[in-house]
């Protein structure tokens, strides 16, 4: 007790010093996120108006609903998810990175409204937001995540839920703009979605990294308990995602293709936590057109996966050291 004021002594408020790092990863990720900063105004969405007109009414409705579902997840991550991780931060720099993550989620949520105002009528937009409040599967996944974020919950369980949201739950939605893009439709919208996907990948990676730092400090029993929890939550969310996917995509005949994409992303989410994959390769081989839409221009002809190619040693051209000054 402080005799003068009768107050308990509190921790000294400390200013953040970026020149003294406890974890280099904080600065690495801060730099990555700030360099990647963007706003929806950067993308010429209005170039998609003609393409939008070629979609059937059902395809339009599906697209608006999918984007509304994504808006809900971004809203949760902005207003609850990322802020909920802040009290658990180990370093002040981690807290700063989380504020960036929280803000970018708000930019993502804002972006969908930019797409809507460019392409859709007010009536269509209002109908979709009403749908998002009434759809049981969408509400179920939102609730499952929000429960984990609740105050007093295990910090590492929160990180598991957060990684599953960032690296798994978005993908039933992200599939559709990638599908349209592979058919040369809504290509500007797809460009914007790719910016969101890029951000979510850094978020999932970083939160998964922080999870691993906490996990490695636990004893074997606690680790096993947490791992069981992670796989249990993944099963629960996967069950919901399956139903959500069927309800959205059955009519357009894409359900099976989307489910493979879910398996692929569930495996990647688990890898972000440092765990092994859950779904075997035979059910996780994503349609090449979707993979190409995800990472355009990155296709390479490599030696191990190519057939009949033979190893040729290149000419020994010395690489000058200055070439490496990236």
């Amino acid at each position: 007790m402080n005799e003068m004021t009768g107050l308990k002594p509190v921790t000294i408020p400390r200013a953040i010093n970026w020149n003294r790092l406890d974890d280099e990863k904080d600065l690495e990720v801060w730099n990555r996120l700030t360099v990647n900063f963007w706003l929806p105004e950067k993308v010429p969405l209005s170039n998609d108006i003609q393409s939008w007109a070629t979609l059937t009414e059902r395809e339009k409705e599906l697209t608006i609903r999918v984007f509304t579902g994504l808006t809900l997840l971004d809203t949760i991550q902005n207003s609850v998810g990322a802020p909920a991780l802040m009290p658990d931060a180990i370093t002040p720099h981690e807290e700063a990175v989380l504020t960036n993550i929280a803000f970018m989620e708000a930019v993502h949520a804002r972006s969908y409204s930019s797409i809507f105002s460019t392409l859709c009528s007010t009536k269509e937009i209002d109908e979709a937001f009403r749908w998002s409040e009434e759809n049981p599967h969408l509400q179920a996944k939102a609730r499952a995540i929000l429960e984990t974020y609740a105050p007093g919950n295990d910090p590492l369980k929160r990180k598991i839920a957060s990684v599953f949201l960032e690296s798994f739950l978005f993908y039933s939605g992200f599939y559709l703009p990638m599908y349209w893009s592979s058919r040369a439709k809504l290509t500007n919208t797809a460009d914007l979605i790719r910016l969101i996907i890029r951000d979510e990948a850094v978020h999932g990676y970083y939160i998964g990294y922080k999870f691993q730092r906490g996990y490695e400090k636990l004893d074997e029993t606690a680790q096993q308990e947490l791992k069981d929890y992670a796989f249990g939550l993944m099963f629960e969310l996967y069950g919901i995602e399956n139903q959500y996917t069927e309800e959205l995509y059955d009519e357009i005949g894409l359900t099976e293709d989307v489910k493979v994409f879910l398996h692929y992303n569930a495996n990647k989410a688990l890898q972000n936590l440092g765990f092994e994959a859950l779904f075997p390769p035979e059910v996780s081989e994503v349609n090449p057109a979707i993979l190409a839409a995800l990472s355009p221009d990155s296709e390479n002809h490599d030696f191990f996966s190519g057939s009949g190619s033979s190893y040729v040693i290149g000419k020994a051209v010395a690489t000058e050291d200055e070439d490496w000054d990236f």
């Binding site: 979510e200 890898q271 221009d297 990155s298 390479n300 690489t319």
Partner: protein, 142 residues
């Protein structure tokens, strides 16, 4: 003198450990390139480099600094016979970019690319590929 009885693996992996987990499953002699400059294991014979990508949206900084330092040694570079790049397709056009950059700069083939810690298929393909590469190198060096 070129050793022809095997091809070693050198790899870089940050504390997130994806590449290290991939290499663990390869069942192949491997050396980790350390984060901080130390007298690291120098390749004694032909080796394959496995390198993750850390590019920003414009592709800058794709190759980790410790890997640049490692390859800046001409004797090391001389023994490099191929590169495997890793990354995340969610980074779009810069997916596994480090592999492509090293392949171009060092004039060696890009052998393979994979995501994060790799799938079972990636591990099997790489393991088989390394074996095939050893055979081919044996038959080309007389």
């Amino acid at each position: 003198m070129v050793r022809t009885d095997g091809v070693e693996v050198f790899f870089f992996s940050s504390r997130s450990g994806n590449t290290a987990r991939f290499v663990d499953r390869l069942d192949h002699p491997a050396h980790r390139i350390p984060d901080v400059e130390t007298p690291t294991d120098k390749p004694q014979g032909p080796f394959v480099l496995i390198c993750p990508t850390y590019a920003d949206g414009e592709g800058r900084g794709a190759v980790p600094k410790p890997v640049i330092r490692f390859l800046n040694n001409p004797e090391t570079r001389e023994k490099l016979v191929g590169v495997i790049g890793s990354g995340n397709r969610n980074f779009g056009a810069t997916y596994a970019l480090a592999g492509r950059i090293i392949s171009q700069k060092c004039n060696v083939p890009l052998l393979y690319s994979f995501e994060l810690a790799g799938t079972e298929t990636d591990v099997i393909r790489t393991r088989d590929g390394l074996r095939r590469l050893e055979t081919e190198l044996c038959s080309t060096v007389t």
